[in-house]
């Protein structure tokens, strides 16, 4: 580009300005109207350019928030369905110790703060056993797993009598806690009442069991005592003690027939006044 080219361009611009050529007014109106319509039709494109950093992630964020809120609402609804009356863990039966009635509100109030203070997540007051077992600590859950609840078990009294010939000691707190956490309120009360009824119930149970055992093994004892006069005599003494003197007399007669030289102790003889 030299000076002559500059003159040429300058002359051309002067000529264009002198002619004052311009397009029709309708062209301007049409173009500007179309430009305005384009903005109205695509506002999101303007937003995308204006906020390029956040515009792309705003929609996914809103979607994620909606999903999260929905999931929370569903979880709350499910918990309410599983929880009769919508009770929280603070109102659940606390761990029971001793022979006190666990259903009283006093016992709940006494042990409630400790239970309420536990930083565990909210658990339905009466959840199904498996769910409650999962919510326990491993140490507390171990006894519950040792006693599968699904297996058929004899009544609690019989079970205790068979397993513990001695008077049952107070159940450990962990067992009570397991029961209260694993079962419903009714289950917890049942287990908590067992220790309270244990002494008397176990006495009656032990006698009944021994009688049943003796009845079942009577024939076997008789057969075993045939060759052992001392055991036969002991058997007769036992019949005397039980007041079964007729049986004792019958056995004593058989003993004397079998062992005429056997020395009969006074305890095996029929006391005076019983005939």
């Amino acid at each position: 580009m030299n000076g002559r080219d500059e003159d040429t361009l300058r002359a051309y611009r002067a000529a264009s300005e002198a002619l004052d050529e311009q397009p029709g007014a309708s062209v301007r109106a049409t173009v500007l109207a179309a430009a305005a319509r384009e903005i109205d039709a695509k506002p999101q494109l303007g937003d995308r350019v204006a906020r390029p950093r956040f515009g792309g992630s705003r929609r996914p964020l809103a979607l994620a928030a909606s999903v999260l809120v929905g999931a929370i609402a569903l979880t709350v609804a499910l918990q309410k369905e599983e929880t009769p009356g919508g009770e929280s863990v603070a109102l659940a039966p606390p761990p029971i110790s001793g022979y006190e009635d666990a259903t009283s509100s006093d016992s709940i109030a006494e042990s409630g703060p400790a239970a309420a203070a536990k930083p565990e997540p909210a658990v339905p007051a009466a959840p199904p056993a498996p769910r409650a077992a999962r919510s326990q600590t491993p140490r507390a859950a171990a006894p519950a797993e040792a006693k599968p609840s699904s297996a058929p078990q004899p009544p609690a009294e019989t079970r205790l009598a068979e397993s513990t010939p001695e008077p049952a000691p107070p159940p450990p707190a962990s067992v009570a806690a397991d029961t209260s956490a694993a079962g419903s309120r009714t289950d917890a009360n049942t287990v908590a009442a067992e220790p309270a009824r244990a002494p008397a119930a176990m006495g009656r149970t032990r006698i009944a069991t021994e009688e049943r055992r003796e009845a079942q093994s009577a024939t076997r004892a008789e057969l075993e005592s045939i060759d052992d006069p001392e055991r036969w005599i002991a058997r007769i003494v036992a019949l005397r003690e039980q007041g079964r003197h007729d049986d004792a007399e019958r056995e004593l007669k058989r003993l004397r027939e079998r062992f005429p030289q056997a020395k009969i102790p006074p305890a095996a003889l029929q006391p005076f006044g019983t005939r």
């Binding site: 051309y12 311009q22 384009e38």
Partner: protein, 207 residues
Amino acid sequence: MTAVAQPASAGLAPIIRRVDDTPADEALLSAYARGDARAFARLYERHERPVYRFLLRALNGNAATADDLLQETWLAVVRNAVAWEPRARFTTWLYTIARSKLLDHWRARVPVVSLDDEAVNDPDQTALAADETAQPEVRVLSRAQARTFVAAVELLPAAQREAFLLHAEGGLSVDELAQATGVGFETAKSRLRYAMTRLRSAMADWR
């Protein structure tokens, strides 16, 4: 539009530069893409007449067709404003669109016309559009002189005329000319040089 002619210090570098602090074309187009309709109005106001003259000269003064093609050009800008990326100057993009509208118009009417035909680069050959225009009448009136000069532009071979108009109206450099017209740098440079030479001759005759 505030623009001044700068001294030609670098060959065929653009002679029109913006010297004020008004927003650049690219900034205005980006503002429009963000929803600023006034930015588009300013952009349109800035380039309306140069683009119109480019079309009008290329069409040998056919004002009605120039209006139609001007409208089509700017509607294309509107449709593609959001997708536009500033890889080149806005004016390069704008005049490329206007040129494509011209080509579409000519293809519809005169299928054999090709601006890229090397034959039209020969200054000895008669331009296709020049035959339709009568020889400009030399007058002493400034307005008449203006018409004569414009007629001389319109008498240029199509490729040279295009190169001259893109340079004079759009301020495109030789590089941008080559990019807009799809030819090599040397071809664009020679086209522009031939156009300047012919116009100077016309000015000498006219004076």
